[in-house]
């Protein structure tokens, strides 16, 4: 019999828009999240974009 218990935490690899969304959803659902990003700031490629279609909102 394995006595392993389920661990209520998740590792998210990548801090772009996708990683951030996953992390937020999990944290809000009651799981502890480790978000790992190789660069000094989260945001990923999207932060580099000037504006996004269709609202031409800035992407920040």
């Amino acid at each position: 019999m394995s006595n392993k218990t389920t661990v209520g935490s998740v590792l998210v690899v990548g801090g772009g828009i996708t990683g951030m969304q996953s992390a937020i959803d999990l944290a809000e659902s009651g799981y502890y999240v480790y978000l790992v990003e190789e660069s000094p700031a989260i945001g990923g490629v999207m932060a580099q974009l000037d504006k996004t279609f269709p609202t031409n909102d800035c992407s920040m």
Partner: protein, 900 residues
Amino acid sequence: MDKCIACGTCAEKCPAKTADAFNEGLAKRKAIYVPYAQAVPLKYAIDKNRCIYFQKGKCRACEKFCPTNAIKFDDQEKDITLNVGSVIITAGFTPFNPDKFDNYQHAKFPNVVTSMEFERILSAGGPFGGHIHRLSDGREPQKIAWLQCVGSRDLNRCDNEYCSSVCCMYAIKESVIAKEHLGPDFKPTIFFMDMRTHGKDFEKYYERAKSQGVRFIRSRVHTITETDTSGTLELVYATESGERVSEQFDMVVLSVGMEPAASAMEAAKTLGIELNNYHFVKTSDMTPVATSREGIFVAGALQGPKDIPQSVVEASAAACSAAVNLASARGSLVKEKTFPAERSVQDDAPRIGVFVCNCGINIGGIADVPAVAAYARELGNVVFTEEPLFACSQDAQEKMVEIIREQKLNRVVVAACTPRTHEPLFQETIRNAGLNPYLFEMANIRNQCTWVHSSEKEKATEKAKDLVRMAVQRAGILEPIPDLSVGVNKSALVIGGGVAGMTAAISLADQGFAATVVEKSSSLGGSARDVQHSWRGEDIQAHLKKLVDRVNSHPHITVLTLAEIVDASGFVGNFETRVKVNTNIHTIQHGVVIVATGGRASVTDEYLYGKHPAVTRWHDLEQNPELLSGASSVVFIQCVGSRDDQRPYCSRLCCTSSVYQAIEIKENHPDTDVFILYRDIRTFGEREVLYKKAREKGVIFIRYSLDKKPVVTGSGDGLDVRVFDPILQKELVIHADRVNLATAIEPSPNEDIAALYKLPVNAEKFFMEAHAKLRPVDFASDGLFVCGIAHYPKSIDESIAQAMAAAGRAATVLARASIQISPLVSQVNSDLCIGCGLCTEICPFGAIIQEDADGKGFRAKNISASCKGCGLCASSCPKKAIDMLHFRDAQILAAVCAAV
């Protein structure tokens, strides 16, 4: 890192400059840097490869000048071991590097830039402040060419045979924005192969771009040369009819595609998950975010090229999948923070403490902080002032708690940076001192004062005094606001029993939440019943059967068929819906709503459909293979009722579906001639491989345009199809035994659902999400979610991902016992209200209703759970019967009056 206050002194003093990768190398940055001004965390980091100390052993200037001793040169790399229940990999993509293509001359010609470089050039926060100019001579360009499919759909020069999905759309966006910047004389041109604007509302954007003067040329440019020393470029290309054209442009933007990043591939290898032929993470269409290894999920562009909304959908879907596995341990590792009991301040006169932060030299170096503090001390109700060096530092925070207790302060004003970043921190501090967090006010004397008036020290001091006075006046009449929370009914109502609805229901039920599926027809399955295979060739019917069985047998799922929703009310956490089944009315209490009402292939009267037995549509041929027996020629017609005036959108699925079916026909009957008449082939992403395969198998593709649609006429038992071939420049007559039409996908009739739950739909009647990019499954109102074709036509893998995403987002509501909502909400004074209903009408969130509570006629009533605190109602109420907590008229006016 905790000590860094992002003052920027270190970067100012750092002597080492290097190319700024965030700006695609178009600007310089220092070796100690923040990637960009809004970076999170806003902390400076040292680029080890560029730092003089790390390279040559000397310097450490930053360390000397750092006012908070936040720099540690002896910090060592550490390995950290984490024990986690699940892993989600979202390591993204890297833009294709075109330097290895000599025909595009990106490395050599300064005026050939990549689309990512162009994004930075366009950006107001970029290296040129949004001023577009040529890198060769700084001149404003009059003509820019965008070249599509650089590093995509290309096997000759790179191995990326897939389509990168997003480049057509971003090229259009860049050209439109460039035109906004450069004015009416600017002439943008986009060179493309197929225009792939298959996303929601993309087609309309494409049409608008055309009308705004963006020129679209269907051709692949083969040579770029510099014509003169200023860097003007000459492009040589062939038109569709084979004519050779050369034309000059001021700049060229290469629309580069997506590739998985090398570091991402490595991470995937470390995690032991399988990659596909193109080094994207391998998944199945029926489990779109599951990797080959159990417990590890993937989302975003690492799974395949995709745009932002689809990435966000998968992000929530992956979160949902991880949560399904770990449901038994939900909440086991998260802790709730506790605070001391709140002190009542209602009956006491205000005792205001003002903390004027020096922020090192950021404020203190410009404004006269002691003078500001002394001035504050003289203001009414102010009983204490202090001038901390860094108000936000740990020790200053602890001291603040002590002072609040000792001095019995009941309002706190901090004059420092911006409330947008630091208000929550200080609110927590005063909570620790037993004060309600809303008894706090900030005066922004750094970002909006000393930083922007650094050359006018006296005026900055005067302004700081004014800002402090405004804050103090407002603080004096702030009131404690109790937490606002609502209980949550931990169950979901899922509207629609197709693949999307069933997947959402199962994804929630597997996490222990009850779900009721309401289906208007007599059985589950929806439009997936008509489709045999997903685009990767997986068996949809087998999956559908499993899904239906699981839904029917799941202990947490109730299914109501032949059911019609007749009434709905409530708000997040507390909805009540009445469902009519035959003559019975079921009343269902639920916490969230997932709308998955689906769609269907439209019926057309074009091309003899319904008039000639040999004209079929969509999957008729796949479902009835006998129709093909003896057929020697089959013609598919695309965009039947899509991308026209009536339905100005692309139905997204049809190109892939027809190409897939054409391949099947060719494989089963190689002698059958198969023609596909199309406007643009939109086999986006890795679906492109199917398009290539079809051409290899001998399927003939003929493009037609909207003004020269094909004409189908009866001819004996068969049909004649006339179509103008733009390459041969003449009309062809194809004799066909079968004509199959890819008719537009339209949403199921959903006006009733939209009206009952006050949900917005777009012009084509698809439900409208809260934000096209960032909130693709949420509705603007809390607790309501959308997935599947109800949102926009999509393939089964995309529907499944969106359904799981909707469940994932819904779980963020259902996982909680109660929902804390911002208590800064609207408050109706029913004594003043005359029940005119204007507020109900203008509220964007349905947060005010009209209710006849005590039989005196209708009066407005707040639904605080839905209120976002925008205040539109308060500023519009004809009777001034509505006020906003924390932003009361009186509180705003106190600051206004104190401004002068």
